[in-house]
Symmetry: C2
């Protein structure tokens, strides 16, 4: 359990984490820092301790360039699906830093690891997938603590990325993370800065005992109204 | 970016996180602490800033008891699927702290939030599901920083939990988290203490440019060999 000062440092790190697109400096990653954030990812909880993740570190410019071309095609497909004013807004939003970041970290899910009979997966098979996401968030927060930016790119087809990196058919790519030093972290998320979507308050998403019930939540949980008081 | 001392506190928190089953004290949760860890969850990254999660705080003993009965039936079903020596080992392992923890936090996924045309979900629909998991890891780490234990129960059928809490059909329960003060955090994960599965070293899971290639990784990443040096 941390003391109040340490807690503030911890929460400040958590709240300052951003999904970085535009602020990568392109400097080379410090190898020790990269090692630490990968160990943070690898220390995530996993169902039945299956640790079903792998991390493909992509530095090759040609692979990154081919991935970026693919992402731009998917970007166009998405843009074409939007109504006009939404599409105009979307044009202003940068969705990736594939070439500008120091490297890509592709995180994959191998459902065979620890199988068969992974403890905790017999009723919920997706629990393995969930574990990989927990590892990604560990990586993201550790990177933030180190002053390193992370941007999750999800404008791609899994089949394309799988073939690009020679990923076996049974293994699923879950994320392409753009990773590297940044000039700064923005205070406000990009999608909010560009008026795409604002962060919602938490209150409507808290419920008590039953999904439809919020009646006596103030007896159960206290939400700081002005800033984040400890 | 944190200084070296702050980084140690951050990483120590991340590495001391455990999946808690047996160490819940049953004390009531401090309402402010609960508020903080829920805000940490709600501050997770989400695809297209959809924030597709909800948090059902379950304190009702009857609901918890019915959930526990269901979990024990699923436990038996899993045990029956194991070979004899594995089943004998499994009998020793506690898989939940539903009644002993201070409350359950059921985290759900609502794919309708922000839909249609959630930015980043057109090619990978599961990205919304991934966001919910990132929120869960934020909650878990914040709880650890606060000295609060979290245990993810996954021995249940989603349909059962959905009906138990009156969750709408289109919303998916992702986790039942047992949450509350603990007597202590174990140094070694339960599944390792009970010889079910040991943590694997990270090296085989690091790859470079292509999934099959680990050839020149030491030029890209440095993994501390003895402890976690900064």
């Amino acid at each position: 359990m941390l003391d109040d000062l340490e807690l503030k440092v911890f929460y400040n790190t958590l709240f300052s984490r951003r999904d970085v697109r535009s602020q990568f400096s392109g400097e080379e990653m410090d190898k020790k820092v990269l090692g630490r954030i990968l160990l943070a990812a690898h220390s995530a909880p996993s169902v039945g301790m299956s640790q079903p993740w792998d991390f493909v570190l992509v530095t090759d410019p040609d692979i990154r360039s081919r991935f970026k071309d693919h992402v731009y095609k998917e970007r166009e497909a998405y843009e074409a699906s939007l109504e006009q004013d939404r599409a105009e807004n979307f044009k202003r939003i940068k969705i990736e830093g594939i070439m500008e970041s120091s490297l890509g970290v592709v995180v994959t899910y191998d459902p065979h690891r620890g199988a068969p009979s992974v403890l905790g997966r017999h009723a919920i098979d997706d629990a393995g997938l969930y574990s990989v996401c927990l590892a990604i968030e560990n990586l993201w927060l550790a990177a933030t603590a180190e002053g390193i930016g992370v941007g999750w790119v999800s404008f791609y087809r899994e089949e394309f990325l799988g073939e690009l990196l020679g990923i076996p058919k049974h293994v699923r790519p879950i994320a392409w993370l753009c990773v590297g030093p940044v000039t700064h972290f923005e205070k406000v998320p990009d999608l909010e800065r560009f008026s795409w979507q604002s962060r919602r308050p938490i209150e409507p998403f808290l419920r008590h005992n039953r999904y439809e019930s919020q009646s006596d939540l103030d007896q159960v949980v206290y939400l700081p109204k002005d800033g984040f008081d400890l």
